[in-house]
């Protein structure tokens, strides 16, 4: 563990901060990607689940003092449970209606946290350092990498295929024997779980959380990361989260005008690349080509054409 600490000490704290921001953004954006990109259910309330995770995690550290790993897991599970509970009634809705519902739910969560004594109302909570021998940056990136691996696995499994079928055509998906209500709720719960874990990391990294930090703008922030990279694309989401989490720092010299660039960038994207920068790119094939091997698709095509 000492070795890890010394590695952290070697990196410039400013750079480290940006890296941690990126890691947290990846976890959050991947969660939304499961709900909106893979399952096609537009959610404008992702920050609500992040705040549920953040406050749960902060309270666990303050009141119970559990180890950080267990703490994050519990925060994620609570966010997922609330996600599933709220998903059950609202996931019958589609498109704009669902989006408005999630938006309303996010506002409710914010107002509840602003009025609860246990979350210190509008003053917000000061979060003590996490109980963990591993330094925060490693924790954040460990969780980010686990999330990436999990979502990659999920997307290409039987479960993920059912989610993508629901995104593409609900009626056809149901006619294939897919229980769309159940899968939508599960997808919503997974997305909320990742949001909750991301919220827990956020709370312990900033050491202070306030309900107003998790408003509509935060949800839109996370949504933009995913849209920039490409709906449904995991590499795209990682890329979008990295760019947009780092953008405020690189655009700092423009002071208050940086939001202009940020907004302009999204408009530009929607016009010229509506699928996102990396939407629809098959990375397995690209890597295989780069190292001089035939893509798996060509290989199997050949095999079946012979037989």
């Amino acid at each position: 563990m000492g070795a890890l600490q010394s590695i952290v000490a070697m990196v410039d704290p400013y750079v480290l901060q940006i890296l941690v921001n990126i890691g947290i953004a990846i976890v959050l954006a991947l969660g939304l990607n499961v709900i909106t990109g893979i399952t096609g259910q537009l959610s404008l309330g992702h920050a609500a689940f992040m705040s549920i995770g953040a406050f749960t995690s902060a309270l666990i550290t303050i009141k119970l003092g559990l180890p950080f790993g267990l703490n994050l897991l519990l925060s994620g599970i609570i966010a997922a449970a609330i996600g599933a509970a709220i998903g059950y009634p609202i996931l019958r809705l589609t498109g704009d209606y669902l989006a408005i519902c999630t938006l309303g739910f996010a506002e409710i969560v914010k107002v509840v946290f602003l009025n609860l004594d246990i979350t210190n109302r509008a003053l917000g909570l000061t979060v003590p350092p996490p109980k963990s021998p591993i330094p925060m940056p490693f924790y954040v990136w460990g969780v980010a990498i686990l999330s990436i691996v999990f979502v990659c696995f999920m997307k290409e499994s039987r479960f993920g295929r059912a989610l993508k079928a629901i995104r593409d055509d609900e009626i056809a998906a149901e006619a294939m024997g897919i229980n769309i209500t159940r899968y939508k709720i599960q997808s919503f719960a997974i997305g909320s779980f990742l949001a909750g874990v991301g919220g827990g990391l956020y709370a312990h990294f900033l050491n202070y959380i306030n309900p107003s930090d998790f408003g509509f703008l935060k949800s839109v922030d996370i949504l933009s990361m995913m849209v920039l990279g490409g709906l449904g694309s995991i590499a795209g989401t990682v890329f979008g989260a990295s760019v947009l989490a780092a953008a405020p720092e690189f655009l700092r010299f423009m002071a208050q005008y940086r939001m202009l660039v940020y907004g302009g960038l999204l408009v530009f994207m929607m016009v010229f690349r509506p699928n996102g920068l990396l939407g629809g790119v098959n990375f397995t094939d690209l890597v295989l080509r780069a190292i001089g091997r035939k893509p798996a698709t060509a290989e199997i095509n050949e095999r079946h054409n012979k037989g």
């Binding site: 696995f153 999920m154 039987r158 593409d168 149901e174 006619a175 294939m176 897919i178 054409n305």
Partner: protein, 256 residues
């Protein structure tokens, strides 16, 4: 025992009676066609059988068990596969993935399977599902297209892919909603042979179709629907000469 039994099935949409007291049975192993003029209620019948609509009156039973009132996905899982009149493929996914989604009920690993994707037991199931999907694609002669995007297939092949996707469910009964629509004569001939082969594998076929040559050449029995009422049922040669059927299609005075 008949495979599918519609008992006095009626559905009303407000004042409109789309299907009116229809009694119909589909026997195991046969090819039954449902014909009738536009708006006769043929597609509504399919939507009733697959649970998209629930009959206002009457019951539908499959394999001796009542299915009317059940959810669409449980009816599919019970062994009824279907295609759609207006193609409903998962357009932005590969041909193979489309069929793998059709094979959804053949698999068992769910979310836990995603967590253990690299575990041998999950990989084994994925392998078996893929082999089965390729098998289904071979039945409609599309195995060579497995890794293309579904949306990039020509129209006729998209229709065949829908059939493969329905077959992946390993259904006892397959409902084909206008499978030959928009195909040229050669494609129709190929499709006709394919449907015959599918029946030969033990799948019962129930289809809605407008193309009379196709229906006459393929069906064991034909049922005719007009304004939601079943006006005739029987062998192709009887239907061809049935005055009521001719009247429904061509109007009064066409019988000579």
């Amino acid at each position: 025992m008949s495979l599918l039994k519609l008992d006095n099935v009626t559905i009303r949409f407000g004042g409109l009676v789309a299907v009116d007291s229809v009694n119909l049975t589909v026997e195991k192993g046969e090819i039954l066609s449902l014909i009738g003029p536009n708006g006769a209620g043929k597609s509504t019948m399919f939507n009733l059988i697959t649970g998209i609509y629930t009959p206002t009156e009457g019951t539908i039973s499959f394999n001796g068990k009542q299915i009317s009132g059940n959810k669409t996905h449980t009816i599919a899982a019970a062994g009824i596969g279907r295609t759609f009149q207006n193609i409903r493929l998962f357009a932005e996914q590969s041909v193979l993935d489309n069929v793998l989604i059709g094979a959804h009920t053949r698999g068992t690993w769910d979310l836990t399977g995603s967590l253990m994707k690299l575990a041998p037991w999950v990989r084994k199931e994925e392998g078996e599902l893929t082999e089965w999907a390729i098998e289904c694609l071979k039945q409609v002669d599309l195995a060579h297209r497995a890794y293309e995007m579904a949306v990039n297939l020509p129209y006729g092949e998209q229709r065949r892919l829908e059939i493969a996707r329905a077959l992946a469910l390993k259904p006892d009964l397959i409902l084909l909603d206008e499978p030959a629509a928009g195909m040229n004569p050669q494609e129709k001939q190929v499709l006709l042979e394919m449907v015959k082969k599918i029946r030969a594998t033990g799948v019962t076929v129930f289809l809605v179709e407008h193309d009379m040559k196709f229906v006459m050449g393929l069906s064991d029995r034909i049922a005719v629907l007009d304004y939601g009422v079943k006006i005739a049922e029987g062998k192709p040669e009887d239907i061809r000469t049935n005055p009521q059927v001719i009247e429904a299609y061509l109007g009064k005075g066409a019988v000579h």
